[in-house]
Symmetry: none
Subunit: 250 residues, 2 copies
């Protein structure tokens, strides 16, 4: 019999508690974990406050296989998650060399100043492993069983896609990516209908920008190869049916 694999989640952010931002990461994580047979046991939404973050992370990490945190790893003064996680583990927090160079190179390639604020995104507890961020470069990180990720939904989802395959799970999630020259705005409605018609899949769309071109990656995930194939076919048909006059804009 499979061992029970459980998870806790800590959502960090005053903007969620004030209502200014409506969280979307809880629902996404819940869907993804369910799909791979990991049981999400508890979610805590806490303030950008070190004591609150430390308490929540420490409570959940000892009683679950995994803990996922979102939020507070950006460049501004209210992004205190890295320092708080370090505190929770009793480790120092410092500039991570690999992350620092990655970000330094990234900003140099864009001709943008590697400001003190941006350098903050290289701050991590010592001895962590990075979680790749294919959307905006600044990595998340893992310390022991705690995965610290971004709060911006598109970045969180992309980071999670890199994390999920590394976890102990109950059932393997398979996925297929359908690139589209369309923007999210052009396909969002029909894509939502396809999602609703296929509850056994989790469909996400991720905006891409490269060399002056906008495009979208649609990712379909499922535990069932058949369900995956059916949804992918419908998505391809939907994309092919969009009239050319809608294709130009963002």
């Amino acid at each position: 019999m499979s061992e029970l694999v459980t998870a806790g989640m800590v959502v960090i952010g005053d903007e969620i508690l004030s209502g200014r931002t409506k969280d979307r990461n809880i629902g996404h994580l819940a869907d993804m974990l369910t799909a791979v047979g990991i049981e999400l046991r508890e979610v805590r939404i806490v303030s950008d406050d070190e004591a609150a973050i430390v308490e929540a992370v420490n409570a959940l990490r000892v009683r679950n296989t995994y803990v996922f945190t979102t939020g507070g790893i950006g460049p501004t003064h209210d992004d205190i998650t890295a320092d708080s996680i370090a505190r929770a583990f009793g480790r120092p927090c410092d500039y991570d060399e690999k992350a620092y160079h990655l970000l330094e190179k990234h900003y140099a390639s864009r001709g943008t100043e590697f400001s003190e604020a941006r350098k903050r995104m290289a701050r991590m507890p010592v001895g962590v492993e990075h979680i790749e961020n294919p959307i905006s470069v600044a990595p998340g990180f893992r310390v022991e069983n705690v995965y610290v990720m971004a709060g911006v939904p598109a970045i969180f989802q992309a980071m999670l896609d890199n994390v999920i395959p590394t976890l102990k799970t109950g059932a393997k999630l398979i996925s297929e990516t359908v690139p589209s020259s369309q923007s999210e705005g052009a396909i969002g409605g029909p894509l939502g209908e396809i999602q609703a018609a296929h509850p056994e899949t989790i469909i996400g769309s991720y905006p891409k920008y490269q060399d002056g071109t906008f495009w979208t990656e649609i990712v379909v995930r499922s535990r069932s190869a058949e369900a995956l194939a059916t949804a992918v076919d419908e998505i391809r048909a939907m994309l092919a049916s969009i009239p050319d006059r809608q294709r130009a804009k963002g």
Copy 2:
């Protein structure tokens, strides 16, 4: 000076943790509390599990002015909130006479059987006050500073509308949003300095990403209109002083 009025929230439901239902009550409660000057400090989403509910309710009720719970007061076998709240307060849980008659009358008027399952909705800790349910009759209830309400969003919202006017409320938090074409990385340093110089404000910055463009929303909150205005002026001046060449990228 106004006393700080705080709140905790406990969202009860396996269906939220599995992703099957996406919670909407957290965002609604956050908006409502912010509007009346009550600070939502923490939200916990827990399973339909007595020990989990008891732990969350007991943790939050001693450290906040109010606690609001949603979910688990329906008629089915997994609706165990009433019994769990009773356990948290060390009180017996039994059929509340007033609630029982209310429901009995309601089902009789509809020619519907007042089944054992429906009778469950009359179970409450002894000695509570009802919270009226104008949508589907079955009342919520209050015990000490804990308000136990429905999970169905329309019913929760209607119950909350009856509760809010009875609460101690704090000074209203006012806020102003300053959008900026800058990225967080470009403004993080100077913004942090402005925050440090204005401790009576709470300044947050929220990265936005839409259709290939990165930008930032800066939100300034304060209980003092004067403090708010001063900080906003400084932020506008800071933004205006950033050279154009830094403006383009993320």
